[in-house]
Symmetry: C2
Subunit: 281 residues, 2 copies
């Protein structure tokens, strides 16, 4: 099943249940139903950035899907792989493992653990320095409180949203929900400086609760900055004075344009950027 | 990766891109994002029941996901596998193939085709004869018109709904949407005899458009029976005089109970059951 063209460029190493492998069973429920969760983590100087935040989200996802997995094994493996990789990206996937045909959860279910490492991503440095334009995605996120926030493997909405543009002019795309609320970008979360305080969309109804978002909220609040988590309409976005998107791989990118709206890059965004750089560099 | 305990009981044969295999690449987007579609088909006497309906839905799913796959190859493979299997179940999965990390669709994308065959399913014969009780699932389906109807690989809602009960008393579970509408069961569609005509829930907002449902609508309409496709509330379900659920594997099961509501099995349901048996036996 191996294809050397892809192996060199993509996964420099992959462990399945702790053993080197590049395939998994066609009976795995990760494939059959997207029945599992994943975390994409930045590795810098042999350590995983924001590991604690990743583990919190992972545990929350496992709880929502009523999956069990040995997190001590996960942590040990991540540590060893990160040390070997030194710099790059680790993608950890936990599926509910193999099953018969049918949605019913097999008992006992034994999770499949897939740990892939990738070379560092080289983002254009001007994204962080000069800001980015957002593509206004037409794809809307469904309101599903049951699955909101966690990073499960059902990601067709993101695939469709990201497929809407190919022009490199747009480094990211803005995604709203089916009720019109501004939720997030395709691979990152949003912060808006509105009436002199930070606002970030509430992700109880849809969207992925990014670890960089949670880290920044904690850091901002502990330095006395007000952060409001609430439903955000397009009007609020337009009225904001600074806008940025963030994730655990690229940190913070100021948003300077979306359609006919534009924002300048202010000092508060640069502060957030510095907070992100502290953990991902 | 093979596990002989599972191989005997589950997939008696599996082809990946036409070749015998029981694994696929960990880089496959079917695993990463549930980026693909599937069809589960009943094979009787060497032929696939309702093949044309399966192909119509498959083509619709590929269109929605903007995936391309050679359907002539698919049809040829299905025919050969069905002839060899004679009786049983074929599960065909088409994913967008392998890709780098990231939601953006790789160009050129080469679909992965997985064709699994399984032994015949032995359903309790009393389900069809005496009817079944439905479990009232708490899990609600999100309203997502973009993905409604097609049989994509993002099936966590069904996994969660099906995990709500384990008592064999319930052969199926009723699933509503987040707005309270009655949509379907976990692996089958619903028909209600209401004010002397058939009603089946509109699946433009969520749910899977089953091939048995479409076949029955066509058959009922061509024999002059009125079938109304519309949003269905709980009140309509309660007021109905006959209720059944259907899919392409078990055909038609009369529904006789749901919570404190009960229905008798009438002649119109037996007619529908006969129509289903014509194609799956």
């Amino acid at each position: 099943m191996a294809d050397s063209r892809l192996d060199n460029s993509a996964a420099s190493q992959c462990l399945v249940d702790g053993k080197p492998a590049d395939t998994l069973s066609v009976l795995d429920r990760g494939l059959s139903y997207g029945d599992g969760v994943f975390e994409t983590m930045r590795v810098a100087k042999g350590r995983i950035a924001l590991l604690d935040y990743h583990l919190v989200r992972l545990r929350r996802g496992l709880g929502v899907l009523r999956m069990s997995a040995d997190l001590a094994d996960v942590v040990a493996e991540l540590g060893a792989v990160a040390e070997q990789l030194q710099n790059g990206v680790i993608k950890l996937t936990l599926t509910r493992g193999r099953g018969q045909r049918g949605y019913a959860i097999p008992y006992p279910a034994r999770a499949t653990r897939i740990c892939q490492s990738f070379a560092p991503v080289s983002y254009p440095p001007e994204n962080a320095r000069e800001g980015i334009s957002l593509y206004p995605c037409e794809t809307r996120l469904a309101v599903q409180p049951l699955l909101a926030g966690i990073k499960h493997l059902n990601r067709l909405e993101q695939v469709l949203a990201r497929s809407e543009w190919s022009e490199p002019t747009y480094a990211e795309g803005l995604v709203r929900d089916t009720q019109g609320n501004v939720v997030e970008c395709t691979v990152s979360n949003l912060f808006l400086l509105h009436e002199d305080h930070w606002v970030t969309p509430d992700l109880q109804y849809c969207g992925v609760q990014g670890v960089m978002r949670d880290y920044l909220i904690d850091q901002m609040q502990s330095s006395g900055q007000r952060v409001e988590v609430r439903r955000v309409g397009v009007a609020t976005l337009r009225e904001s004075t600074e806008v940025f998107c963030c994730n655990s791989l690229f940190g913070v990118w100021p948003v300077t344009a979306l359609g006919d709206a534009s924002w300048s890059i202010g000092p508060r965004t640069r502060q957030a950027q510095a907070l992100a750089e502290q953990v991902i560099m």
